[in-house]
């Protein structure tokens, strides 16, 4: 094959261009730290990376849902603990009166204490997270409990929240299932109307009605058990939330590892490639510079 100076020059330019393109690609990989910087770099990996990115973002949303739900569970749990403690105080007070009393002052004081404790229960029932009444069901903009029968003005909707794909958890407990359970359609924790028990107790104590006080004390014990059941439910939900949080975190770590394996560049490998490419490029430039200078003209006087 006949080779001219232009053949050599064209070849040199072609390979210099190829070498420069390889160096440019290596520089991009090193600077970005990513193997895939645009879909055309590796369409198949792109599909996987974007799929994983979607899963990561969705997982982050579930983790955010879980975080917010845990806060709500904590507030709910605190309110239930408050109810339980209040009921224990009320139960103890009732037990101290089951034999009756001739001291009017004692009875009046007891009535006053039961009224305070009942109000305390109502306050716990009207606890809020932000603007939302936690025990109001889906009627969460209005305080659900009042001091007079039927006491509960909320509804009995149980709200659900997504915590994983096709996995939900109950966000709330309708207040009537705790404090006015006998009026609730669903009675998962018991059937005691605690607020009514307080009112009955206040009436019985005011009348020094020993049987009524006894019945009230029993109702408060049943109520405390009812609240305790609700606490157990909340604790179970918290355990599940923790478990799902762990699962989502594990999934996240696995996905990050997978995407890292695809995306993270091997700097050592790139360093070696860069050195090799630099050597080849320098050799190419040097050869071109020397070759293009050679001419018969230099030898013709």
């Amino acid at each position: 094959m006949r080779i001219t100076a232009n053949t050599s020059a064209d070849n040199s330019l072609f390979y210099i261009q190829q070498g420069r393109a390889k160096l440019d690609k290596l520089a991009e990989l090193i600077a970005s730290g990513q193997n895939v910087n645009r879909p055309s770099d590796d369409p198949i990996s792109t599909n996987m990376i974007l799929g994983i990115a979607d899963k990561l973002k969705t997982g982050d949303q579930y983790l955010s849902n879980i975080d917010k739900t845990k806060i709500q569970m904590q507030i709910t749990g605190t309110a239930l603990q408050g109810m339980y403690d209040t009921l224990k105080i009320a139960r103890d007070l009732a037990n101290s009166l089951v034999n009756g009393s001739t001291d009017t002052q004692t009875l009046n004081n007891a009535v006053s204490q039961f009224q305070t404790l009942k109000q305390q229960m109502i306050d716990y029932g009207n606890v809020r997270n932000g603007e939302t009444y936690l025990f109001a069901g889906a009627d969460s903009m209005t305080a659900p409990f009042s001091g007079t029968a039927p006491y509960y003005g909320g509804d009995e909707t149980t709200l659900n929240i997504n915590i994983a794909d096709s996995s939900t958890i109950k966000l709330n407990i309708p207040g009537n299932q705790i404090l006015t359970a006998d009026t609730a359609v669903s009675q998962p924790y018991g059937s005691t109307n605690i607020l009514e028990a307080f009112d009955n107790l206040i009436t019985a104590v005011g009348a020094n009605d020993v049987a009524g006080i006894n019945a009230g004390a029993q109702a408060l014990i049943a109520g405390a058990k009812q609240v305790n059941n609700a606490q157990t439910d909340i604790a179970t939900r918290q355990i599940r939330l923790n478990s799902m949080e762990q699962m989502n975190s594990n999934n996240r770590n696995t996905l990050l590892t997978v995407v890292g394996d695809i995306q993270t560049v091997d700097y050592a490998k790139l360093g070696v490639e860069l050195t090799q490419q630099q050597t080849a490029f320098n050799a190419s430039l040097s050869a071109t510079a020397k070759l293009t200078q050679m001419s018969l003209l230099d030898y013709i006087s």
């Binding site: 100076a5 053949t7 879909p39 974007l50 969705t58 659900n160 966000l171």
Partner: protein, 464 residues
Amino acid sequence: MGLSTALEIGKTGLTIYRVATEVTGENIANVNTAGYSRQRVVFQTAPPTTANGFPLGTGVQISTVERYYDSFLQKQLVNAETTEGYDTKKFEILKQIEPAFNEIANDGLGTSLINFFGAWEDLSLNPTGTTERQVVFTRARTLVDDFHAASKCLTDAAATQNDSLVPLTAEINARLEDIAKLNGQIRYTEQSSGNANEIRDQRDQLVRELSGKIGITFTENSDGTTDVNFKDSGAALVVGSQFGAFSLTVNAGTGNYDVNITPVGGAAAVVAPVSGEMGAIVTLRDTTIPGYLNQVNSLATTIATQVNTQHALGFDLNGDAGEAMFTYTGAPNSAATLTINPALTSTNQIAASGSATLVGDNTNALLLAQLKSTSTMSGGTTTFNGFYTKLVSQIGLDVESSSNAVSQDAAFLKQLEALRESNSGVSLDEELTNLIKYQRSYQASAKLITTASDMLDIVLNMMR
């Protein structure tokens, strides 16, 4: 036959080697001229005489000045230029579209989709929250903006390609006219005075340049002219010194340009270019880009329909049934015309509740959030994000394959160029060697004249 013959041979030698030096000069001067084919002087012995009693030549004469040209290589180059023109233009256009869908480097439509349904998740945690409702609105607006951006990128790309047909057509027509004119000059020149090598080179270079823009076939005629036909329809573009023309007419249906050819001796007719630069432009404008756009529109339509349907099943803070969240005018342009329903003027109108009376219910927000992971696209086989990811990968694949094609074309074309250079390219070393050779021959011819002159002087002196 006498000394005068020797003088004549010397004189002819001087003339011939001067011409040979001129040809070498022409080669040296055009060493870098695109399309130039090196030329050489073909020497031949001048007719012999028998004046001496035996046949003896009368010196040297030029048989022809010929160019080094390989018509088979020219055909291969023309075909390679057509393929390279198509692939390069396709790559250029796709490369401009890719950044708009580069979800790896930037947040785009895919992220907006996730964020939009994430906002419904947040709302499901606090169905009456004003902030959460505002976020749903904001995310919906961002989603709409990103649909507009994706749609605009694609429609702009198609419109730009459509517009680029105007200068391209003008360029093609100019080349057709030039080729035809050069054909005429070649025929005239060769009829009167031998090979029109330089004009043939110019014409052949124009044919190669034309072949990058449209697919062509060509025929080299015995009179030196080259006829050119449009590869995609067979229409005669150049016949001798006559030439046809490309023109554009606006298609009433699409609003885009139709490509027309008025062939030599024929009437204008619409053609469908599929090769060369023009073929790439038309294919991308009419098929590839609309294909991407259809997918974006399909996504926009399905999202709007699904969200609107579910939203209508819920109830807002006023207890009213949910209004449609998105509106658009016509499925073909749904991404471009997608907007938030103007009737939704307040965050209170977001229908998160599944009950007309219970504002704190989150059933509908939850169902809307769950649309994200529901397989509603591609006949119920993939999710919104899965569908979009597939589109992004498809664009990536198209860019990658066209990039590979361009690399292969460049390598193939380089090889053909090297072959052409090997055959037709000027070698300065070769020309300098020829220069010295011709210079020495010229000097020898001059020496022949001075020697013959000296001999003549001797004869003349004998007679004094």
